[in-house]
């Protein structure tokens, strides 16, 4: 208790505040929630530390200087009131001293809010306005990729496959909001034949806004699952926003992942469905998966294409088949499609197989939704291994459905039946355990309270023949 209080008055506290702001991407609401949720500020900077950028350095210095001046003022006032026997100022000096950390932790948000509304938002709006013209005048075929999950993977698959025959550009990494789209438009050379734009929805109306300036020709909806429910409240509302992409396209050239059950209420007959079974008339057969990737045959009548990818998991087959079909429709030859699919490989932290201590570790720590988690668990169940281990802290931002979703996750874990389940202790742990117990799990269950320590020492738990699936990794601000 005493230790937890001392950090409030230590020079390190300014750094903790600056880190919390940076980790929440300067979202004042998320920061304030995190601040008041925190019981011990010593545990904040643990796994990661403040990255000194221009804004973070400015915030840090402002906090340090402001807090220092307030403490000095309080001390001077205290000494002065003692010397002059003006007892009225002594409580004021004490109060000034005591409130320093809390006062500055909140005061710092005011310039940020002012900066956001007076400078950043107008600047971003201007940049987005400029990008509308750039997108409209660009002659490339524009493919928008939206959905609650699997967007970045879908975009990367499309980029890899289509680049084999066409000059293709895509929004970088997981940069998928308005300002990222605007910067992407500015970076274009003008002679691209295909543009792929990832739509990162976060609040109602986002997708409609994205379509208004990117003006896509083709829409891909990768799936629907509970995500960003803090803003959307329900999956249905999120679905309405995501499917506004189809509205913009007048239901034409819309490709939807049929493996996502939540999309069903939104499906229309004009949509093209893709799944591990195929796309439209293209049928997937001879599907085989291993830790080294997937291979399958994509056929349409007498046309057959043997495809092989280093992406792992049967859930990757649908997106691969779609990329192949879109490639053919956009003018790639079968050979180019085949070569493109062969170049697809696991993305960092997304079903990425790694060797550790002689065993296989599948790093799926960027997976943050129940559908993706279930896909991973299916893979864990299907791949052969001497011993199977599953590690997760659970999911964030699941709104009021969090309990049900985590119980569902627990049941999915039981179905995969790993020999060992390791849950990283969080607020949702009990819900997962309940789901596991309901499923009558017979293996070993461990609950680890220190993820950093556990991940660092994972090599000691692994041996040849082991298959370890690690899903999701909570950012510090969710702790």
């Amino acid at each position: 208790m005493f230790g937890a209080l001392t950090i409030l008055y230590s020079p390190k506290f300014a750094r903790v505040i600056a880190y919390m702001l940076q980790a929440t991407e300067y979202s004042i609401t998320a920061y304030i929630r995190w601040f008041w949720r925190t019981e011990d500020f010593r545990r904040i900077i643990y796994r990661k530390d403040l990255v000194l950028t221009r804004p973070s350095r400015l915030i840090l210095r402002t906090l340090q200087l402001g807090m220092f001046l307030q403490i000095v003022t309080a001390i001077v006032l205290g000494i002065w009131s003692t010397h002059h026997h003006t007892s009225i100022f002594l409580p004021l000096a004490v109060a000034l001293l005591l409130i320093t950390p809390i006062f500055w932790a909140h005061l710092i948000t005011i310039p940020l809010l002012l900066g956001r509304y007076l400078i950043i938002k107008p600047y971003y709006a201007f940049e987005v306005w400029k990008s509308r013209k750039l997108f409209t005048e660009h002659r490339a075929t524009r493919i928008a990729v939206g959905g609650s999950y699997g967007k970045t993977s879908m975009k990367e698959i499309l980029l890899t496959v289509l680049s084999e025959g066409k000059k293709t550009a895509a929004t970088p990494a997981n940069k998928n909001v308005s300002i990222s789209h605007a910067r992407f438009a500015q970076s274009l050379e003008g002679d691209e034949e295909i543009l792929i734009i990832e739509f990162g929805e976060g609040a109602p109306g986002d997708v409609k806004k994205f379509t208004s300036y990117t003006k896509p020709h083709i829409g891909v909806i990768t799936g629907l699952a509970p995500a960003h429910l803090d803003k959307y409240k329900t999956v249905e509302k999120a679905g309405r926003d995501i499917f506004s992409l189809a509205d913009y396209l007048k239901d034409q050239n819309v490709y939807v992942n049929a493996e996502s059950s939540e999309t069903k209420p939104f499906l229309k007959s004009a949509f093209h469905l893709y799944s591990y079974q195929g796309v439209d008339r293209w049928v997937v057969s001879n599907l085989k998966q291993s830790i080294e990737g997937v291979k399958f045959v994509l056929s349409n009548g007498k046309t057959k294409i043997d495809l092989r990818s280093r992406l792992i998991g049967n859930h990757q087959v649908g997106p691969l088949a779609l990329a192949a079909v879109l490639g053919l429709e956009l003018g790639l030859s079968a050979e180019e499609v085949k070569a493109g699919v062969a170049k697809t490989e696991p993305f960092e932290h997304r079903m990425e197989p790694k060797q550790l201590s002689g065993g296989w570790l599948i790093d799926d720590t960027y997976n943050g939704n129940i559908e993706g988690m279930k896909a991973g668990l299916t893979l864990l169940k299907e791949l052969p291994a001497k011993r199977k281990v599953y590690i997760t802290p659970g999911l964030v931002d699941q709104g009021k459905n969090s309990v049900a979703i985590h119980e569902e996750l627990g049941k999915a874990i039981t179905k995969a039946n790993p020999d060992l389940v390791v849950l990283i202790k969080h607020s949702v742990t009990d819900d997962i355990v309940r789901g596991i117990n309901d499923g009558n799990y017979k293996g070993e269950l461990r609950i680890e309270s220190d993820p950093l320590d556990f991940y660092t020492n994972l090599k000691h738990f692994m041996a040849t023949g082991d298959l370890v699936l690690m899903q999701n990794d909570w950012a510090d601000n969710y702790n």
Binding site: R387, N457, K459, H460, F461, M462, A463, T464
Partner: protein, 385 residues
């Protein structure tokens, strides 16, 4: 939660190897099990005992701060009070700290530890401990004695002679006995591991120097014939009555370039042909790529040797194989393999955490079995006196 005391360091030339074994291969995995309270008990080079959590930090030894630590830290006393108890001064008001030990995990290599002396102490305390008992450890640590037992049970071993170091003051009889062996020869201290003090001798003129080197480290020296068309193999084994083998491992060295201490521990095994995987003791082929019939024969020989010597818990059997004749020779047994040979167990499908857990289990089984043995016998001898 049971308390496991990991004892390491010791009055041995392999003191530093022991620190690595304890800290990297035993203490860390034991703590990761979340099942034990792990106490680090360090025996300094002068034989003093210390017990402190700070002793779990490798930087203490690397930085040399251990000297400062030992100057300030209280030494540990042992109390045999229905088991083993660690006792040290708390340095406040004359109070003492006590810690009852449930299981001991010895991590000492070489003399005054791996040779059975520590195990004898633990037997006296009647506390469960990991690894071979004091009798096996003592035999295993005497290469000549181990070979005698092995050969007696029908397992092959290379021709050898052994003698005590003080016999070198009048070397004539020693040199005479060596004459019956064919060169090249290996000259080794009989009780040391980690390849300390070992020399390969190709002719008689190199012999005396090699004998003196070996005698410098030990009071007993063994001289053995070299195996032709040599394949060196080693097999870690664990278990009590039904031992489990790990994988046969082949150190990738040439006969003229055998593992010495420097190659094994200091150069990361860079000497030798340098192919294969880098294990805890240098480059090796894991599992050894030898014909299946030879693999099976070698594995069987090692398991027989393990049982013949009465090993329990864990040990590593070293073999020498003539690749042309397919003769498999017992070379030596190591009752506490460096780093527990965790890299080999890992390759065999047993993680470091699983390994230490199993070894604790074997220690408890062995101790329980021992409690069934009667240690008292009623007589009227005293009354008759």
């Amino acid at each position: 939660m049971k308390t496991v005391a990991v004892i390491f360091g010791g009055r041995s030339a392999e003191h530093d190897v022991s620190i690595i074994t304890a800290l990297a291969s035993i203490i860390k995995p034991l703590e990761l099990t979340n099942q034990y309270r792990v106490e680090a008990v360090y025996i300094a080079k002068d034989g003093s005992w210390y017990w402190d959590d700070r002793l779990k930090d490798i930087s203490l030894y690397q930085s040399g701060e251990i000297e400062d630590f030992m100057r300030k830290a209280p030494k540990v006393h042992l109390l045999f009070d229905n088991g083993l108890m660690l006792v040290k001064s708390s340095q406040f008001a004359g109070r003492k700290m006590y810690r009852k030990v449930d299981i001991v995990f010895p991590a000492t290599h070489g003399t005054y530890g791996e040779d059975g002396t520590l195990m004898g102490l633990l037997e006296m305390a009647n506390v469960p401990y990991v690894g071979c008992n004091f009798r096996v450890s003592a035999v295993a640590m005497d290469k000549a004695l181990a070979k005698k037992i092995i050969v007696y049970s029908g397992i092959k071993s290379t021709p050898w002679v052994s003698f005590y170091s003080n016999e070198l003051s009048k070397p004539k009889s020693v040199l005479e006995s060596i004459k019956k062996l064919s060169y090249p020869l290996f000259v080794k201290p009989a009780h040391l591991g980690s390849s300390i003090g070992i020399s390969r001798v190709e002719s008689e003129k190199e012999l005396m120097n090699a004998l003196e080197v070996a005698a410098h480290y030990d009071d007993k020296v063994i001289v053995e014939e070299e195996v032709k068309n040599l394949i060196e193999l080693t097999l870690p084994i664990m278990g009590n009555d039904d031992p489990i083998p790990a994988l046969l491992e082949r150190p990738l060295t040439k006969p003229e370039d055998f593992f010495d201490f420097d190659t094994k521990y200091m150069q990361g095994g860079k000497k030798g042909s340098g192919k294969g995987t880098k294990g805890s003791q240098g480059y090796s082929e894991l599992p050894a790529k030898i014909p299946k019939d030879l693999y099976d024969k070698a594995e069987k020989t090692a398991l027989e040797a393990y049982k013949t010597l009465g090993c329990s818990g864990i040990a590593r059997i070293d073999l020498l194989v003539n690749s042309k004749t397919k003769d498999v020779f017992f070379n030596e047994v190591n009752p506490l393999p460096g780093g527990l040979y965790a890299h080999n167990w890992q390759k065999a499908g047993i993680s470091s955490v699983e390994l230490v857990n199993k070894l604790i289990g074997y220690a408890e089984d062995k101790w329980r079995d021992k409690q069934k043995i009667a240690t008292s016998f009623s007589t009227n001898y005293l009354k008759q006196f």
